[in-house]
């Protein structure tokens, strides 16, 4: 038995997987990874199922130590300074911690969440087929709450397989695509236009339940109370103050504010990665376009294993290493106090 021990971690970090859909009719939130593509990429790097449980790491730094044997990990999602015992590690690649070695991760860059997948997966007791943490409902395993330092993730010893990297599509700042509905008829045309014509920012008070948006006030035609109906990931609901809330994987399964539009599946993970305070825009697309993009997104997920490359094929990784070093001058990785977040 090998263990990955959490030696330091910030808030908004928890074990997540593909979630537990199927019981929303009983009020059970699906939860699961904020950015499914990055979760799947991290898992692919170490040969796991696409949506196996991994560590979703929030914007702040974290460190993990291997105990009881070597542990092989895959890193994807928002990139960070990363090293194992001083050896730099690139994102979108796998790496192995020898017994006693520590993986140190800095702040997230250009995104909010990184995914650390562990070869052979994380041992735990599935609840409704999932290890995903849903703190409100007391669900999740091995811990039904966000991770804390001292927590232990049990796995099997590293296989010794050669390290891999994965070629991910280039990052984009393109607008987040939406389809209007289900309750866009609760809004006048000029207010619908406001949603797509304006610049928005994600409020710092956002969490895994919902991202609060800051921007112009969107007015309702006829009050903000509707009879509660079902929600989905990406529902854009508009409460009384006219500042939209985009519902995220820990959302309530029903909600009583009009939902003006819904983020498309293909862009949801990219939306989840937008950092608080960074401006972005929405763009309305047709249902046909949204569904064509959903199918392309599905094909991309399935093609991830074909995107694996040998680590010695280093054409891109030199760039990644240089990137890590340049950014490394911004913080002192050795002086933990310059980046580590104190836990309550």
């Amino acid at each position: 038995m090998s263990k990955l021990v959490v030696t330091s971690i910030g808030p908004a970090s928890s074990v997540q997987d593909g979630g537990r859909p199927g019981s929303q009719r009983y009020g059970l939130t699906p939860s699961g990874a904020m950015d499914r593509l990055s979760l799947a990429a991290a898992n692919t790097l170490v040969g796991n199922d696409l949506f196996a449980a991994a560590v979703e790491i929030g914007p702040f730094g974290a460190s993990f130590t291997a105990r009881g044997g070597a542990v092989r990990v895959g890193l994807a999602g928002a990139s960070r300074n990363a090293d194992i015992g001083g050896r730099p590690v690139a994102f979108d690649s796998s790496a192995t911690l020898a017994e006693g070695e520590t993986l140190t991760l800095g702040f997230a860059r250009g995104g909010s969440f990184s995914y650390l997948a562990i070869e052979h997966g994380i041992e735990g007791e599935p609840m409704f087929g999932s290890l995903a943490v849903n703190a409100r409902a007391g669900l999740g395993s091995p811990y039904p709450r966000p991770l804390q330092s001292g927590d232990e993730l049990t796995t099997q010893a590293a296989s010794g397989a050669p390290e891999r990297r994965i070629e991910m599509p280039a990052a984009t700042d393109a607008p987040i695509r939406i389809v209007f509905g289900p309750q866009d008829d609760e809004f006048a045309e000029d207010n619908k236009k406001l949603l797509v014509d304006s610049e928005w920012k994600i409020s710092a008070t956002s969490d895994r339940m919902g991202y609060r948006l800051e921007g112009p006030v969107i007015k309702h035609l006829d009050g903000h109370n509707i009879v509660s109906d079902g929600t989905v990931n990406g529902s854009i609901q508009v409460p009384g103050n006219g500042q939209p809330i985009v519902l995220m994987p820990d959302r309530g399964t029903s909600g009583g504010y009009p939902k003006i539009a819904t983020a498309i599946t293909a862009d949801f993970g990219r939306f989840a990665q937008i950092s608080a305070g960074r401006p972005f825009r929405f763009k309305a697309v047709t249902m046909a376009e949204a569904q064509a993009e959903a199918i392309k997104f599905h094909e991309m997920l399935r093609s991830l294993p074909d995107r694996l490359r040998g680590i010695e094929d280093f054409g891109l990784n030199i760039e990644a290493l240089r990137d890590a070093n340049v950014a490394g001058q911004a913080v002192n990785a050795v002086d933990v106090s310059t980046w580590q977040v104190a836990l309550p």
Binding site: P21, G22, S23, Q24, R25, Y26, G27, L28, T29, M127, F128, R136, A137, G138, L139, V179, F180, G181, P182, Q183, I226, V227, S228, D229, G230, T231, V232, N233, G234, S235, G252, T253, S254, K259, T262, A263, I264, T265, M287, A290, Q291, E293, A294, I295, H298
Partner: protein, 243 residues
Amino acid sequence: MAEPLSPPRLLPSGDSAITVEFSRTIDDAANRRVLALDRVIAAEPIAGITETVPTYRSLLVHYDPVRISFDALGGQLLARAAKAPPTETGTRRWRIPVTYGGEHGIDLEDVAKALKTTPDEVVARHVAGDYRVAMIGFTPGWSYLSGLETFLHMPRRKDPRLLTPAGTISIGGIQTGVQCLAGPSGWHLLGRTPVRTYQLHRDPTFLLEPGDAITFTAIDAKTFAEQDRAAEAGEFVAELVTP
């Protein structure tokens, strides 16, 4: 039986879900059509549907756009909704024990005052009701019941409470509800039930289904304490009256 079967509205909830809306208001007839469509889909599945979520006035249908398009699924849903709803046979009826007032129902006195009556009268009327699970949502097992008599209709609290106890039985607006987990609520707390509508390691995990009929029975605080221990150990405590 002569309710007009006007077609529901198909509202897009993104590229992977359709809201099938039967009404824009809380309406018992619409809720019965929601639950009827849900039963029809369960009996005659449509390939590509991954999950259905009945609510008061609409059925949210989650689906996989890789397997079926919005247009194709929408057509099939309208066809099924146009069929005469199957009669509700074999409706399950549960009797749920509640201890009213005191520390377990801290708003009972205030509710009685607001309604210009006595706490006993409020309890008597609440116990006499014949309710139906219209939807389950918000948090696991939170069951919204229709059938609250008009006399007990009350606006929600102006200042919602951030924490209300597990098992709370409350009224809010024209609804009453069985809350399972401790959590926030803006409703008026009349009492508590030892029944867990959701319990992780019990079979079934979720006790109630949308459409189930519910009646309440008053118990004293001592019985509540006994039944609470039994429920914690995995007993239903709720009594299945029919079928």
